[in-house]
Symmetry: C2
């Protein structure tokens, strides 16, 4: 089953020499596509968050290496050795844009490793064959990401109630198509439900300070024709008191060995409200998010981000200079508050 999306976060051009991205910094006000032809433009797109989201960064980086090699061949490069040396430079430059983005480094190394394997198996291959091999591996990485999203969605879809009325869902932050090369993680069952013609009503927390829920989740769901309503983070309690919500769907940045979940700040408060109101609380994430080396949530390091995201995140100063700011990026939801964890491998209801 494929749920077609009316937008592409990243795609190579027909000739394979460039990438077209949806510039996420312009959302939700404008839908701007940018064509990236050189390495600096690609590195800048990552640095400026024109592309963002852990899975999407991996997919983007793979396509970027393939496009850069293809362009070199198209502009006259015929020496496979020089092509390989240029690729090393590309890996270095792109990898340095966001050093802590695990998927980015993983995809770059996987491209390089795959090329070395291919070259060993195809000694004396011409430069254009090398570039073609890189395009093939990038496509595989992208397809793998799409399959991961679809698998999470298919498993999670079974958890949504079979109801005549609309299925009502609350979500937080953006673990959607805009963060992946496919239909997203937390939002994937919604795209599949929509493709089946089911009626949906989605509530999206705006997710301060960076407003990924308002800017990105609301944009991609509305763009796909799904009914979406934005509320501020503090309104979730009033929502659960006011109407029946069938499920809360969130992503995860890391899942500890005991099932504790680190996710975007605000997730834990939602889980506490879900328990009080008897609403199922589902965590949807790729298997790669599971961290067996992290015994519990207490062992997950929590990134503290820049104060100005809270002080003046939307262009105007909203916090006085002599007040302090606390800005943790994530919180930890204990496993006991999670109804089920859904990965591409299936649904898990307990962790012991």
């Amino acid at each position: 089953m494929r749920a077609p999306l009316p937008f592409a976060t990243v795609r190579p051009t027909e000739d394979g020499r460039a990438l077209v991205i949806l510039d996420q910094t312009r959302l939700p006000e404008e839908e701007v596509e940018r064509t990236l032809t050189d390495r600096e433009g690609m590195a800048e797109a990552i640095r400026l968050l024109r592309v963002r989201g852990a899975p999407l960064l991996g997919v983007f980086a793979a396509h970027a290496l393939a496009a850069l090699a293809t362009n070199r061949v198209a502009t006259g490069e015929t020496d496979p050795t020089r092509l390989r040396a240029a690729l090393d430079e590309d890996v270095e430059v792109l990898g340095a844009t966001r050093p802590t983005a695990v998927n980015l480094g993983w995809a770059l190394e996987r491209m390089r490793g795959a090329l070395d394997e291919w070259s060993a198996a195809n000694p004396g291959a011409a430069a254009d064959a090398v570039a073609a091999a890189l395009r093939t591996v990038a496509s595989e990485i992208h397809d793998q990401d799409r399959r991961m999203c679809e698998a999470i969605g298919a498993h999670a879809l079974q958890l949504l109630p079979a109801t005549d009325g609309p299925v009502t869902v609350l979500t937080h932050c953006n673990a959607g198509a805009l963060a992946t090369g496919g239909i997203g993680t937390a939002l994937s069952p919604l795209y599949l439900a929509r493709a089946e013609g089911r009626r949906l009503r989605v509530f999206a927390d705006e997710t301060r300070p960076l407003l990924q829920g308002a800017r990105l989740t609301a944009w991609e769901l509305a763009r796909a024709g799904i009914d979406v309503t934005v509320l501020t983070d503090g309104m979730a309690g009033a929502l659960l008191s006011s109407i029946r919500v069938d499920a809360i769907l969130v992503g995860a940045d890391r899942i500890a060995a005991n099932g504790d979940v680190a996710n975007k700040i605000g997730t834990y408060g939602l889980a506490v409200l879900a328990r009080r109101h008897g609403v199922p609380f589902y965590v949807l994430a790729p298997t790669s998010t599971l961290d067996p080396d992290c015994p519990t949530g207490a062992d997950i390091p929590i990134e503290q981000r820049r104060e100005d995201e809270v002080r003046s995140g939307m262009g105007r100063t909203t916090v006085p200079a002599d007040a302090e700011v606390w800005n943790p990026a994530f919180d930890v939801t204990p496993a006991e508050l999670v109804t089920a964890w859904v990965t591409d491998e299936g649904v898990r209801r307990s962790w012991s």
Copy 2:
């Protein structure tokens, strides 16, 4: 006990002919005082939210009527009958600025009623005596508001732990000095504790969509030398998981006959978190907030506010045009989640 504040939200000038207000629309970036001499400027100050907060609007309106009458006498008015007719116009113009602000209308009517009583008791009084009487009543209204704040603070102060380390408190929205003619309601025990030399650490939810916590609570506490840290509304759960918070202090817009509390949106979620973490949850409000005609919280009407507060509240559009917005101004916290209600009359621990 009086806790001096380093700013005044509203005060008459020496000659009584004008009002000086702290322009709250310029906070937290600038501390701008405005001198208001005519009725239009005073009405505009209310309309543009340069003064806001239910108790403060009452105090402001009383001073405004007195200043306008005083100015008329100073510029040659000698006829008490014409002075009384002008006052009626003032009441009408100021009362029309925010028709649903109960304290505003209450103070205007109280001024008019007090003047009529005084005139009946002082037949043939000169115009300057009429103006002086109005100034006296306005001062009484202001003093009454100050006493209400101090009384709430004194009662609530007894609930804070006697600890050597700093007393750590979390609050939401602004029920502070900026909303009253005194030291505030929810924040009043903090000013009293500070005056006693106790160490405080206050966390203030920013309180989306209008950011009263970030803009106003953080400003007034920092201005008074109290250690204050702003966090986004979704961070409260992480805060309670991270450190020991001694108490959560919030105000109330209305308290039903069974103790259910309507307050700024986000309050209910805090109360649910407080229960989970064993943190006392205190509601601090004037006795006038109690509504015996409202049996339970379900009977309290909840104002839905304009979508653009969420869509573009800080100058930039953050919600796509084809997404809906839900913007309730208040939520209801059930009485069972409230540890104690503190009014100017005392501390109440149950409601049955």
